[in-house]
Amino acid sequence: MNTSAEPNAVDITGLSRKFGPKLALNQVSLQVRRGRVFGLVGANGAGKTTLIKHVLGRLKAESGLVRVFGFDPVADPVAVLSRVGYLSENRDLPAWMRVDELLRYTAAFYPKWDIAYAEELREQFGLDPRAKIKTLSRGEHAKAGLLIALAYRPELLLLDEPSSGLDPVVRRDILEAIIRTVADEGRTVFFSSHLLEEVERVADDLAMMFNGKVVLAGALDDVKESHHRLVFRFDSPQQTTPKVPGVLSLTGGGQEWTAICNGKRDEAVAAAARVGGMVVSEDSPSLDEIFVAWAGTKTE
């Protein structure tokens, strides 16, 4: 919980949500601090979109608390939505409109809409103002959605899987937009992604979700520095996975096995030594490897 005078961009405490018998969100707590880029990581179905819908006030918290800049998104949607630029996963834009109509239409909702900035982005993204939305390519469609999320310079840019299914050129535009958003006046970005490479590039902080639960959250650098990759060599080939308690994952075969561990490096080394494993190399895993290691742990 944030107790300082300036509330966090997003503050979620103990949020749970059920869809029928399925627990979509299970006691989720996270804080998105102002001026930071927060990456929400998880496989499809982990609960990322459900979480984002709570931030937007499209779903009401069944239990727990959601605050955006200190406001309740369900009770005070105007206060929240006027501060948030949102790009949805399926980018639901009106198909029958032309690009220039979409811009005029959206501008009408936002007093702070910046016509010059919108025009600059339109040119940068190579969008034809007279093109109908339904004729746009997938990448152009995404860029149009991003444009209308950015053009009123929201305090919080909220992106749900922004680069899902897009080519590298469009993904680059999206990353540039994120970087520009934080570089300008220290605004905040909250985005979900399953592309760890992008999260690693642009995020200050991250949370990893599995089955509706946040299993790991923190500053990206701290997360990276607290995880270790250890390669063990055993005296004899191991027919089954050796028992090394305390590691997140252990993969390999024969005499060499690779472990990913979180923090408890010395314990892992001692545990491996008891079953005949010696450390032959040690380095830092990539975020991708950390994610895979956590995905393999039993999270109920």
């Binding site: 930071r36 880029v37 680059r172 990353l175 540039e176 970087i179 520009r180 934080v182 570089a183 760890l196 490479e197 690693e200 590039r201 642009v202 995020a203 200050d204 990206l220 650098d221 990276k224 520095e225 990759r229 190399s281 380095d283 830092s284 895993p285 990539s286 975020l287 991708d288 490897e289």
Partner: protein, 130 residues
């Protein structure tokens, strides 16, 4: 200044940047008085978070590799030389460790390895003009 960062590497991005700047200073491609790119410019060029670049510069400043001039920018420091030497040795030690590990796997004794290094050094000498 051309830097490259890799996210498949386990090393945090800010450290990759700091290490590469140190490497450029150690190898003489950046000399005292040179300006390093502004944070936003480098963030945009590398397509990474500007806070990460800021952290790398802070690290470099703390170690005395670069310094800020108020209101103008960040420059490579004069007092770079003792650190540069230490840094050069650090970089080369890492490579030597890898080489030694490989030599051990291939059953090549350190003395034999030393002989190979000398031989190779002599054979590439003529090509290496400074």
């Amino acid at each position: 200044m051309q830097l490259h960062v890799s996210t498949s590497d386990g090393v945090p991005l800010y450290l990759q940047i700091a290490n590469q700047v140190k490497y450029l200073v150690a190898s003489g491609r950046l000399v005292p008085g040179d300006e390093v790119p502004p944070i936003r410019v480098l963030a945009h060029q590398l397509l990474i978070n500007p806070n990460t670049v800021a952290r790398a510069y802070l690290e470099l400043e703390r170690e005395g590799v670069v310094h800020k001039r108020h209101g103008s920018g960040t420059y490579v420091s004069d007092a770079g030389s003792p650190l540069a030497r230490k840094e050069r040795l650090r970089i080369i030690s890492e490579r030597v460790d890898v080489l030694l590990a490989e030599a051990r796997h291939l059953n090549v004794e350190p003395l034999e390895l030393l002989k190979v290094i000398k031989e190779r050094s002599q054979s590439i000498q003529p090509k290496e003009t400074k």
